[in-house]
Amino acid sequence: MSSSSNEEVTSYSPGWSNVDVNKMLAPATTQASIKLSIQSVNAWFGKKHAVKNVSLDVKENSVTAFIGPSGCGKTTLLRCINRMHEMTPNARSDGKVILDGFDIYDKSTDSAMIKRRIGMVFQKPNPFPTMSIHDNVAAGLKLNGVRDKKLIRDVVEQSLVSAALWEEVKNDLDKPGMGLSGGQQQRLCLARALAMQPEILLMDEPTSALDPIASSKIEELVQQLKEHLTIIIVTHNMQQAARVSEYTAFMYLGELIEYDQTKDIFKNPHKELTEKYISGRFG
């Protein structure tokens, strides 16, 4: 990453007035300050109560894993964090999610603005099929009004480097995004999310559709990215959670059963249910 791209990235801050871009690009802080505070969040699909009164605090520059058996509500909780949950028909939620001291569910908040600050990577890679690799990464910028072509190209390069995809595609930026392999497509989606310079990155089972080699690449990236971002990753793979995260939240049937440092959850769980899940007795 050249230093010139740092300066240019700063210059497009107007729409991203709450983001301190230079702080974002600086090395990790050693303080464990709270980046995101989830307070008494409930979520419903019609009558089904999918997330029951969950509260937890996510530390800045950390990787937090949400684990639990299928249907426990971890993905729903994740989607409540960037207000994607309410876009599903018949879905609603309540509670507070405080980002940097500011409730994103406040009535005055623009939901699209939140999504620019909190990025998301989905389970199945979903690059835009009608766009080239370059346009895919630039999509968030272009469609949000950024016009400066040089700036866009620099951000695209920076994002692809951060997603460890640049070397593989730097000569093929105009080729269609769909022509890449599954693992590359997922890294492309990661680059696309990173291009928005989010403060928090939500990852919904990002490696479940990938082969083991591609999966480990993504896990490596998560470790590198946490220096600049706060990452929350939903995974049904316990070993992945153990490898990748500092904090783990175990959910079951919509409730938060236990939330602690990863090493404690796996070595010394407090709740019996957690212990049963960790040791594979159900799930």
Partner: protein, 324 residues
Amino acid sequence: MGKKDKLSGEKSRNASSDYRQIFHEVSLKHASRRRITDKIISILAIVCVIGAIIPLGSILLEVIKNGAAVISIQFLTQPPGSIGSDSGGIGPAIQGTLITVGLASLIGAPIGILSGIYLSEFAPTGSGKGVKERAISFFANTIRLFNDVLTGLPSIVIGIVGYVTIVLAINSFSVWAGAFALSIIMIPIISRVTEETLKLVPNSLREAGYSLGISKSKITLFIVLKYAKDGVLTGVILAVARIAGETAPLIMTILGTSLFFTGLTGPVDALPLKIWRLASQPYESAHAFGWGAALVLILIILILSASIRIIAHGKGIRVRTGTI
């Protein structure tokens, strides 16, 4: 033949192999009959296909045979001569068709596409319990119902509508009235096709767009519509080809003249109308001209479809064959 304890060891194995034996024998007995039935149905299917193609093929052959003889530069560009003579041509009719169909498409395609976008993206069926959502849902379902009904509306009725609204209003048969009537035919077709095509776009694309904080209208235009452009364009081509051949709506709206285009508020001729009038005359030369005009109309529709496909191919859109 232990039916009660089917699953218990040796008894069940015997039962199972007995059943197998029976099925095998039955199957052998019917094998030859099965093969014959298979062959008969295959032949029947092929015969039906040929039967379906014959009328189409024979019409095309007739038109080409009878029409080709009459085609000439004069035929294509000159106004008609006096009734019954074989001088002159159908120039005004060709021009009129191109203008009327063109104007109708300019009106009908955007309205149809935008309507389809609304129905698919902004008012999907079902869902939502709130009063506002229910109202939007009701409104959208009404539009869908109207689309379905209007596609089946007899085109003569649409012609009358055009007459009553535009012709009487500006007191003259006009291109506007014809284009208006034709666009009424186009809009429900394009709207329906657009809606169905957009619904086929996977939702994961929209989600990806939302997660980047992009507004709904931009997602719809630059991501969803871009993905579905093949299907939408195919729908537009189908609608254009359909209206190019409609005669009834034109009878009461553009009148048909032997003059070239004089203005959008004046009458104009069109090929389907011309064909009908020529066929109704008792003169041989008129009939010959009629065949020529029919050939020209078919060719125009063919050229129109082909050129849209070529342009689209150049832009990387693949137009699909057949209906959606």
